[in-house]
């Protein structure tokens, strides 16, 4: 069992006290921001990026990953108890979760959701353990041509699958690519778009952009939102679901795990889409679909399982191909780059401690989260009483002071505020910030591999189609780019307007 050796060594990495501690910190923070409506996991990770500078790469990623999947657990609590989705990925849980809680079965709903989350998350880690090395070894032969195609496809998918207007998401991605060109050209050493500013000569750092656009932009945007006062119920009793409830939900949990796992791998997929798809699937499969929306346990268990499974499996493209599948993964990518680790196919081979340490930390994190969401759920319900008015200035100050500590420079703080304005305006005008950050992260990789492959092909762009993998990826790229247009045309031909899925209207919270 040679294959399992690095996996087992990974556990040794996780069980180091500092890693365990950061895992705990990560999942607690994730759970907290999941419970508190407002900041999402991406914003939180962005704001906390400066914290990761002084720790080991594996420790940093363990913590950030904990925030991400912890938020999936926490988001459920407010959905069920208050009909306020803490996270975008818990929006569909509101429909049946809140009804269950009105029928006095809040504990059951929360219990089912946590057990489902645990199973979905764990199943996904197992899948990750076996699939990731396979994908990575496949990708080892990738050359610059494949990477250009892959990066292009990744950016396009993230932009087109996002909830907002697709053109606007693509524009955001283009801006991200353009921002990535600021600074010295890697091939010729010439300065681009620096306008003579010395601070810009080395290019714009990823962290101020992420902190500004995701963090501060989100904080400013939230200032405007009318917050409905949250009336936290005093206590939740009996979170252990009965045997019949579990039996009723077990199918949904199993299906949610599989569905979430696969949707998480896809670029542009992720927790939110997985939860919505799972809800739709459970409703379609149900013998009495009219029970949905009135407290069907499957309507809670399925989506909650799927969003956790997806949150976990979305690490696969990042850790094996070096291509982040969604905005949160773009932040992880950035965090790894800061640490001097370039995620990619060689990661499993060259740095097995980091790879398996991060993967295995998720087992521990999921166990911690299960403990926090079953017996300790009452504590997190109490946290709902913290008011947004108090939280907002605290997060804003953390962002500003944190930005200063990156390089001890006020220039970074200024950049954060500038990009905060950009992020806020983007949200106001319907531009998704996710594609911008993702494209920014992939920008230099895309440019260098594009230029390298053009050198190989002697300047002939059709060379991309002479290699099977890059050709396939580019054909998919063209299909994805063209298909929506064709579909709209077809829809105009056939008169019957298809029913819009209700949940797509809900604005993604990053």
């Amino acid at each position: 069992m040679d294959f399992l050796n690095p996996v087992i060594n990974g556990f040794a990495v996780v069980l180091e006290p500092s890693n365990l501690l950061y895992c705990l910190i990560g999942v607690v923070i994730g759970m907290l921001i999941g419970v508190l409506p407002g900041l999402g996991p991406a914003a939180t990770i962005a704001i906390l990026l400066p914290l990761t500078y002084n720790v080991e790469p594996v420790t940093a990623i363990i913590m950030l990953a904990g925030i991400f999947y912890g938020a999936q657990y926490g988001g459920t609590i407010t959905s069920v108890l208050l009909r306020l989705p803490g996270e975008a990925s818990s929006v569909v849980t509101v429909f049946d979760g809140y009804q269950m809680s009105k029928q006095g079965k809040a504990g059951t709903a929360l219990g089912l959701a946590s057990i489902g989350s645990f199973i979905g998350g764990t199943a996904s880690i197992v899948g990750l353990t076996f699939l990731a090395p396979v994908v990575a070894s496949f990708a080892l032969d990738f050359g610059p041509a494949e990477y250009s195609a892959l990066a292009l496809l990744g950016i396009l998918l993230v932009a087109t699958i996002s909830n907002g207007a697709k053109t606007k998401a693509l524009i955001a991605a283009a801006v991200g690519l353009l921002l990535a060109t600021v600074g010295r050209d890697i091939f010729t050493g010439e300065s681009r778009f620096t306008f003579g500013n010395l601070e810009l000569a080395d290019g714009i750092d990823f962290v101020p952009i992420a902190m500004g656009i995701f963090g501060l932009g989100e904080i400013l945007y939230n200032l405007e939102e009318r917050h409905r006062a949250a009336k936290a119920p005093s206590k939740v009793t009996n979170v252990w679901p009965s045997r019949t409830d579990l039996a009723q939900a077990s199918g949904a949990i199993a299906r949610g795990s599989v569905l979430g796992f696969f949707l998480g791998i896809l670029p542009g997929g992720g927790a939110t889409i997985a939860s919505m798809a799972s809800y739709a699937m459970e409703k379609k499969r149900a013998k009495q679909p009219e029970r949905f929306g009135k407290g069907a346990p499957e309507g809670v268990a399925g989506p909650e399982t799927a969003n956790n499974a997806a949150a976990t499996s979305s690490f696969i493209p990042l850790l094996t191909l070096g291509i982040p599948a969604n905005a949160t993964m773009a932040l992880m990518f950035g965090a790894l780059l800061i640490q001097g680790v370039t995620p990619g196919p060689q990661l499993v081979e060259q740095d097995p401690g980091l790879f398996w340490g991060v993967v295995n930390s998720m087992y521990i994190g999921n166990i911690l989260l299960l403990i926090m969401s079953l017996p300790l759920v009452g504590i997190f319900v109490k946290i709902l009483r913290v008011r947004a008015a108090i939280l907002a200035p605290v997060t804003a100050l953390i962002t500003l002071l944190g930005a200063y500590t990156i390089n001890n420079s006020m220039f970074d703080v200024t950049l954060v505020v500038v990009f905060g304005i950009v992020g806020y305006l983007m949200k106001k005008f319907g531009f998704e910030p996710g594609p911008l950050v993702l494209a920014f992260v992939l920008g230099s990789l895309l440019e260098s591999s594009l230029r390298r492959s053009l050198l190989v092909f002697g300047g002939d762009p059709t060379g991309f189609f002479t290699r099977p993998i890059s050709a396939t990826l580019l054909i998919v790229f063209v299909l994805v780019a063209v298909l929506p247009g064709i579909r709209t045309l077809l829809a105009k031909w056939t008169t019957a307007p298809s029913e819009q899925p209700i949940t797509t209207k809900i604005k993604e919270k990053v």
Binding site: F95, K168, I171, E190, R192, A389, I390, V417
Partner: protein, 199 residues
């Protein structure tokens, strides 16, 4: 607890509010809250939709497209100035040139086809809150190197809590002082960072 159930097919999505069901509990709830108790997912989604800030008109969409066009054209000009070269021997401007071409095309598309999208939000009276927040942030950035972070942070906290968040004066002052003290403790005393500080 009284269950009001209506057959799902008979209720149109986003349909008007039905008369509030008499609440079984004794807690007097906010008037809007009663009506919302038994919504189908479709109604709930419609209600969230209504609560969203009003959509901005075609003018805002056009303006944002023009900004995109402006940035794209600017980048286009600058990248041509940097020199394009050929695909086989590219100069620094080629890649930015390609991106800015895409941007200009997308901007034009958005200006013409996407004009009637309803995804932009109108600036309302509520938008003064982020503006105020922004001013305090900018002031803090400007003042920090001169007088340290403590006083600007305290003022920022007070403004955000009292005026943007509607906290009471008592809790505002108390919490602001605690927050600033905590930040001082963490960033200056514990982590020993070089953040400009007064004390």
């Amino acid at each position: 607890m009284i269950q009001v159930s209506s057959s799902p097919s008979s209720v149109p999505a986003g349909g008007g509010s039905r008369p509030a069901a008499p609440s079984g509990g004794n807690a007097p709830e906010a008037p809007g809250d009663d009506v919302l108790e038994d919504l189908t997912p479709e109604q709930l989604a419609a209600q969230w939709e209504e609560e969203k800030p009003p959509a901005a008109g075609a003018l805002a969409n056009a303006a944002s497209s023009l900004v995109v066009l402006g940035v794209g054209t600017g980048a286009l000009v600058l990248s041509v100035a940097m020199g394009l070269g050929t695909p086989a021997a590219p100069e620094p401007g080629l890649w930015p040139f390609m991106i800015s071409c895409v941007m200009v095309v997308l901007g034009l598309f958005q200006l013409t086809v996407g004009r009637h999208n309803r995804d932009a939000e109108k600036f309302t009276r509520m938008s003064s809150a982020p503006l105020t927040g922004l001013v305090t942030l900018a002031a803090m950035v400007a003042l920090m190197p001169a007088i340290g972070f403590e006083l600007p942070a305290l003022v920022l906290c007070i403004i955000w809590m009292r005026f943007l968040g509607g906290e009471t004066w008592r809790s505002t002052l108390l919490v602001s002082a605690i927050v600033v003290a905590a930040f001082y403790g963490i960033f200056v005393l514990a982590l020993n960072t070089s953040i400009p500080h007064l004390f």
